[in-house]
Amino acid sequence: MLGTTIREVSLALREGRLSATELCKKCLKRIKKTHYLNSFITVTEELAMKQAQEAEHRLLRGKPHGPLDGVPFSVKDNFCTENIETTCASHMLKGYCPPFNATVVQKLLDQGAVLVGKTNLDEFAMGSGSTDSVFGPARNPWSYTSSYREQSPEQDPDSDWVITGGSSGGSAAAVASLSSFMALGSDTGGSTRNPGSLCGVVALKPTYGLLSRHGLIPLVNSMDVPGIITRSVQDAATVLGVLQGRDEKDSTTVQFPNLATSLPEDFDIRDICVGIPKEYHAPGLSAETLTQWGRVASMFERAGAKVREVSLPHTQHSIVCYHVLCCAEVASNMARFDGLEYGHRSAVESSTEALYATTRHEGFNHVVRTRILSGNYFLLKQNYDRYFVKAQQIRRLIAEDFRRVFQSGVDVLLTPTTLSDAARYSDFIQEDNRTRSAQEDIFTQPVNMAGLPAVSVPTALSSRGLPLGLQLIGQSFQDMKMLTVAYWMEQQLGFPIIRFHDAAERNTDERDQGEECKLRS
């Protein structure tokens, strides 16, 4: 039952074939069993059981709140959860319990969804591997599947494992390892789509302004969006329908009349024009990913969709431009962490300045400190025009590229999500965070510059037995249309369900084994 989709499990709950508490227990058990993945920072066992009981009451009375009632979910640990520790995987916020829920979390709770835990990430969402967490790296569940282990049977699973991607690696791993039916991530430069692709799950980055950021601890306010991770495109659409809409607590959310809340029924792939940006043939793109990209493009073509090459000439400048804007906003956003009102506070109290300096030095990791330092440099009076203003100008050009392409009649763009499948942890950490972020975000990052919707769809397994994903990019506020194309794609691709390798899975509860590895229908 755990391997099914929200759609199926929701139906089972409503028809009484499954109880919400039973489902919740299974997920909690699954979290314990996959503890070695390090995908969770906090497991909210007691609260989850309480919520599940309440959902069960409603379901028994035949009055569920909606399609998510009783469905277990997890949340990246940079979303505020009322009275539940919210750490951003940083020493700075260890022990911090916010007094309020993020709007997106509240909306899911209001729908009766059951929160099972808070997931691991790179500290303050700065990274692309989920390797720079104060709680240690998250591991990709596909490291423990038959498909991967059979490629390297002699290797020790404790040293030979691949990264989840990041920064929402914990959320992607939680959904991929069947611990949750959905998870919230955040996406600033690809942080939802990147791990979604590497962990073989559907990862949606909605249009900027469609979902509230209230309660999302910011990385780059002008690019952050809450991301949705599920095991099917339908499920992503369902969750999007619940979460989207104006929030008076976030002035950047948009009131959009007649917004679709589910996938449209009348859809003909032959009406769709798919653009293939030529600049996305980037150096470092793996042969396998390139092959999949070509395969899916032909698939669209064969089905009667228009497929044509387009150009996004300013894409190449996106990463360096992002670096400047990201660091500048980070420097500003992180200024509040001074140890006075909340969070870590140094024992050095010889002066207010000394307290600030040591608190911040002790609280932030090297990556965060480096970005703060760079950001402050970019914002200095004598540098502002050369860096920040220039970066904003380039950002506008990048957004303009997309606008022009969509205006020319293209409905969606098809691109790779990542350069290749997931790297081994030991290989990944050979390069520093800055280098990795620049490499890994290359296909996902321009989308955030332009505020567009994008979704990573699991496409195939690589020769190493690891997931490969492709990305669809849509027009502003045409999220549902984009998801419709993604849904069509998903139907054609038949991406396999995860199959855990018996030897790799420690503490396996034999009784549940068959059920958990059941194929998704």
Binding site: F79, C80, C88, L93, P98, P99, F100, A102, R213, H214, G215, L216, I217, P218, V220, N221, S222, E248, K249, D250, S251, T252, Q255, P257, A328, E329, A331, S332, M334, A335, R336, F337, D338, L340, E341, Y342, T352, E353, Y356, N376, L379, L380, K381, Y384, F388
Partner: protein
């Protein structure tokens, strides 16, 4: 470029505005143009001026600009829903945003925008239809986010004018009219308050004030001495109070003035300026600025240089002292506030774009239609309507409640306004000041006074003393009688007695005067009530 200078002594300085290129011109363009404005020539004797023109090295004179922070009179803060309160327990009015909890976002308060627009309109500013918010960064314990949200690039209102006047010239008997350009009005957040506990070497933070809306008004360096600056501040204060966009109490920090002061020789580039802070009354504005001008002149005349620094005014010694901060090195690292979209205000309903709810936006024409009578207009009306002297109109308008009082007396007594004004100016005010009463809280007085005036009109042969006796309008100063009345009032206002602050005392005094039809001796009543409530 034109110059502003004041010569001789700063307090009673004669201020003239000159175009430096005309220094030796016989045309004496002393009504020289300044930014398109013609300044009236206000010179008593020509000797000082003459000296300036023939001198190779004219006198050093002051150049003064002001930055004024006015707390917006609103129920809730600029970006959060917490109440704006005074005298409430520390940290009792702090929303999550005010404490900068991570994940919180600013939501702009419409009332604060309206207040800024109303204020801008009152100063004939151009209201920017689109304005922007920026972050200004600096670490300070009572600024929890590490930055202040302000309007650095594109403020809500620009290019305004403040007309003000003051009594100057010989014996300070002449109305001097001036105008100062208002560069901009910007919306920004107030900070919290730090309390330094020296004994335990701790700093305690109260965030009640953090996030309260401020209007920062930047006045160009069009002033040349303390009198001018103080008069400009006083006029600004009156206007803000009339608009009800700021309560304007300087001692409570609702209106805070920083002065930028420099000295130079007319025609030469402006000198190095200092910023004088910590000025908490209009009177101190004049003293602080004049002290600073003199100090800078002395520094330069003794061969020294003026340092660009922030100085604090010490009202006990009447001097300014260096704050020794690193202000000069501070780089605020300004950045656009990414969580607030551009602020749009609209001319009227017709200009509101489709899809935007007119009830949710700020409409300039509506606010303009509701502008109250401003002090300048009010003075002109008083002069016109009652044929009183312009300087009297100033005194009437400057004292809180005095215009109403004056007009009620005239209305009720049908007395000759010029007679009434004489009495008000001399007797009433000097008595009020002697008794140490700031405001006219005693609303019964005009009725009493009217009665006396009316009788005097009818029977001019009777003395006021006689009339007062006949009409039983005499002062109640019998200690025992007053004690009884006061006790009764205290007993019937238990709530207010409990709260026990200065404002409450005023309320109780009002109640006593109500009972006695305004005849109780205020000095005695005050002393009695103070005793009873302490």
């Amino acid at each position: 470029m034109s110059a502003v200078f004041s010569c001789v002594t700063p307090r009673s300085a004669v201020c003239a505005h000159l175009d430096p290129h005309d220094r030796f011109s016989p045309a004496l363009r002393v009504t020289g143009k300044r930014a398109g404005l013609v300044f009236p020539l206000l010179i008593q004797g020509s000797s000082g001026l003459f000296f300036c023109f023939i001198s190779i090295s004219p006198q050093l004179c002051g150049v003064v600009g002001l930055e004024i922070h006015a707390q917006i009179h609103s129920n809730s803060k600029l970006f959060s829903s917490s109440r704006v309160t005074f005298y409430s327990p520390p940290n009792s009015s702090v929303a999550f945003l005010d404490a900068s909890l991570p994940g919180t976002l600013p939501v702009l308060n419409k009332r604060c925008v309206e207040a800024a627009v109303i204020t801008g309109l009152a100063f004939n500013c151009t209201i920017n239809r689109k304005s922007l918010f920026d972050r200004k960064h600096y670490f300070y314990a009572d600024m929890p986010a590490g930055y202040q949200i302000t309007q650095q690039r594109l403020p809500i209102a620009v290019n305004g004018l403040l007309n003000y006047s003051y009594l100057g010239g010989k014996k300070r008997g002449q109305v001097m009219s001036r105008r100062v350009r208002i560069k901009q009005i910007q919306l920004e957040q107030d900070s919290g308050k730090s309390l330094h506990d020296e004994q335990n070497s701790q700093t305690l933070i109260d965030l009640n004030r953090a996030g309260v809306g401020l209007m920062e008004l930047v006045m160009e360096a069009d002033m040349s001495c303390g009198d001018e600056a103080a008069a400009a501040v006083r006029e600004l204060q009156l206007i803000l109070q009339a608009l009800d966009t700021c309560q304007g109490n300087m001692s409570e920090g609702q209106l805070r003035v920083d002065a930028n002061v420099s000295v130079h020789r007319p025609g030469e580039p402006l000198g190095v300026r200092t910023e004088v802070k910590n000025i908490n009354s209009a009177r101190f504005v004049a003293r602080a600025i004049d002290y600073e001008i003199q100090r800078q002149i002395k520094v330069l005349e003794s061969g020294g240089t003026v340092v660009n620094e922030t100085r604090a005014f010490d009202n006990k010694s009447g001097t300014t002292v260096s704050m020794r901060d690193k202000e000069g090195l501070q780089d605020y690292r300004f950045m656009p506030e990414p969580n607030l979209p551009p602020l749009f205000v609209y001319e009227g309903v017709a200009s509101v774009p489709a899809g935007v709810d007119p009830a949710q936006v700020v409409l300039i024409d509506r606010l303009e239609a509701e502008l109250p009578e401003l002090p300048g207009v009010r003075r002109a009306r008083l002069v016109e309507q009652y044929r009183i002297l312009p300087e009297h109109s100033f005194t009437l308008v400057n004292e809180d409640g005095l215009v109403d009082y004056f007009e009620r007396v005239i209305q009720n007594a049908k007395a000759e306004p010029r007679k009434v004004i004489g009495w008000v100016m001399q007797e009433l005010l000097s008595n009020l000041h002697q008794q140490g009463l700031k405001n006219l809280h005693v609303h019964q007085w005009p009725m009493t006074l009217s009665a006396v005036f009316q009788e005097m009109w009818k029977t001019p042969e009777k003395t006021v003393r006689q009339l007062v006796k006949e009409l039983d309008l005499g002062l109640v100063s019998d200690q025992e009688q007053l004690l009884k009345i006061c006790q009764r009032v205290v007993d019937t206002h238990p709530e207010q007695v409990k709260a026990g602050n200065k404002k409450v005392l005023n309320k109780l005094m009002g109640a006593v005067q109500k009972e006695t039809k305004g005849r109780a001796d205020p000095v005695q009543v005050k002393a009695l009530l103070e005793k009873m409530t302490s």
